[in-house]
Amino acid sequence: MTEPLLQIEDLHVSFFTPTGEVRAINGVSLEVYAGEFFGLVGETGCGKTVTGLAVLGLVPKPGRITRGRILWKGRDLLRLSSREMRRIRGGDIAMIFQNPVTSLNPVFTIGSQLVRVIRLHQGGSKRQAEKRACELLEAVGLPEPERLLQSYPHELSGGMLQRVMIAMALSSRPSLLIADEPTTALDVTIQAQILALLRDLQSRFGVTTLLITHDLGVIAETCNRIAVLYAGQMVEVGPTTEIFHRPCHPYTQGLIQAVPRPDQDVEHLAAIPGTVPSNPGFLSHCLFAPRCSYAWDRCWETQPVQFPAGEAHRVACFRHASPEVHP
């Protein structure tokens, strides 16, 4: 078994607000291996974005990592100095966000912003950096890169800007690209282009990608392996085909059934009753129990750990607890 590139162990993140502590992430553990296209899926507030930010040491105030380790190529990122962290962030680990318009500075040209990032991480002359910038823009499928370098962000469409962001993220030849809802702000035809680009980068340049999204369709189309988050906990992890064809956690099952399918007729749309608990970190029972039709005594007593449900497939549900552990 190879070493994971990124390993998150028992991550807990809390936000200390004036009205009290809000526990956003309550024990997320996952591994991302080199060359993978890994997906993190869940609904609003499940902690998927905060998990991505935690890896980069960017948890916004008043949030704080309260427990856990994040191992990057074997080193604990939480123990690094802010200077060492800065070298990794945007260097070895790059991130792109949902809205490319707000990620770029509107008063500088694409070229100046791209060149600055390239020189920051790799040094070199302005001329060399410009040449590299052109190569990168070409690699992400943008025509006429020289002209593009002179353009300002408002002159480009959303899809083009997201390509620029991807080029910028790739400029330092990162080992890991974290893409947080990279296509949510885009139209479907443009989304298809960007997803094809991300898939292409992974297969051509071996860019390991951690894709964060709420869209099960996007996940199914791109990822090899996925983790499903619910209320700040990971409820299921496994190969994409396994999870979609044999979902084991009641939440995953509910989520898949709740999506209206564009490719087939559905008789009845199965909604998940109820809502997500508002501050789940203080609960001691299975967080999904209040909405789960299978919930029994045990689910209300303690929280399930991850049980094996198949090859490389784990699920946090007592229905999959092996009989030896739970008679």
Binding site: L195, L216, A220, H245, A258, V259, P260, P262
Partner: protein
């Protein structure tokens, strides 16, 4: 479903001026909706789909006369709305209501749920206060809320609950037509499914007709009887939902459907990806508006604009390649 015409839109156009440049000296005309014909039968759900900027929202607002169309006719229940004066329009408004995408911004934050739902009753009916309260309660129950929500304020509600309140308010006057503009786009999938099921139930109960505007093709397929696909201010294809989804005729519809990610990992392999982006509606390409991105565009497509023409009794498409001589 009764075959009774409820709404007919003829040659509807909505242009607006955009001022740009230094001191807004450069004007350009954006053709948001550019000649749309549409019919809706009583009791049907018409799904209006298209990408951002295609004019679907503007079309919805023109139908309600929330924005004034530049040209064309909107015939609702036999009356041309565009010729009505303010008083007559106000009366018609009771019969046509709208629900928007973001429920939090469409409900006054200073109104409690009760006040929000009672507002249309207060302005349009002469019900007494206790009668209004009773009606509000029935409406809340119909949308899956209850007495405990009467005194809540929008910020105390979840997105799904807010959308239920918006629905209750829209239903207060028993309208015949409901324009739903991306009603579930701001919601998570599990909540979205609840709201969609609610909409399906309410339609039967209140005998409603829906104009359902959305960019989410999965949702549209599930809820709609008929579909109209828009591209750059024009309808390019219309027909029964199932037929359009299973055998799309217009190249744009085909590309749009192929672009939607499907929650099924096996579907990944085949893929037709449309190149380029949607041109600006201020300067649409000549001829067929889709020809700049169309994989099978021919010379005629660049020169002449195709009209929406019937290809079978219930399907229309605007494409030269599908015109029979």
């Amino acid at each position: 479903m009764s075959e009774q015409l409820l709404l007919e839109v003829r040659g509807l156009k909505h242009y607006f001026e955009q001022k740009r440049g230094w001191l807004a000296r450069h004007k350009r005309v954006v053709r948001a909706v550019d000649g749309v014909d549409l019919t809706m039968q009583t009791g049907e759900v018409l799904g209006l789909v298209g990408e951002s900027g295609c004019g679907k929202t503007t079309l919805g607002r023109c139908v309600l006369r929330l924005v004034e169309p530049t040209a064309g006719e909107v015939i609702f229940n036999g009356q041309n709305l565009l010729t009505l004066d303010a008083t007559a329009m106000r009366r018609v408004r009771r019969e046509m209501q709208v629900v928007f995408q973001d429920p939090l911004s469409s409900i006054d934050p200073r109104f409690s749920v009760e006040e929000a739902v009672a507002e249309p009753l207060r302005t349009h009916t002469s019900l007494s206060r206790p009668e209004r309260r009773e009606r509000v309660l029935t409406l809340l129950e119909d949308v899956g809320l209850g007495v405990q929500h009467l005194d809540r304020y929008p910020h105390e509600l979840s997105g799904g609950q807010c959308q239920r309140v918006a629905l209750a308010r829209a239903l207060a006057l028993h309208p015949r037509l409901l324009v739903l503009d991306e009603p579930t786009s701001a919601l998570d999938v599990s909540v979205q499914a609840q709201i969609i099921n609610l909409l399906t139930g309410l339609k039967e109960r209140y005998r409603l007709t829906y104009l359902f505007i959305s960019h989410d093709l999965g949702v549209v397929r599930y809820i709609s009887d008929r579909i109209a696909v828009m591209y750059l201010g024009k309808i390019v294809e219309a027909g029964p939902a199932r037929a359009v989804f299973e055998s799309p005729l217009h190249p744009y519809t085909q590309a749009l459907l192929a672009s939607v990610p499907v929650p099924e990992p096996k579907a990944r392999e085949w893929r037709f990806i449309l190149e380029g982006a949607v041109p600006s509606p201020a300067n649409p390409p000549p001829g067929c508006r889709f020809h700049t991105r169309c994989p099978s565009a021919q010379t005629t497509c660049r020169e002449r604009e195709p009209a929406l023409h019937p290809v079978s009794p219930d399907r229309q498409v605007a494409c030269h390649l599908l015109e029979k001589e």
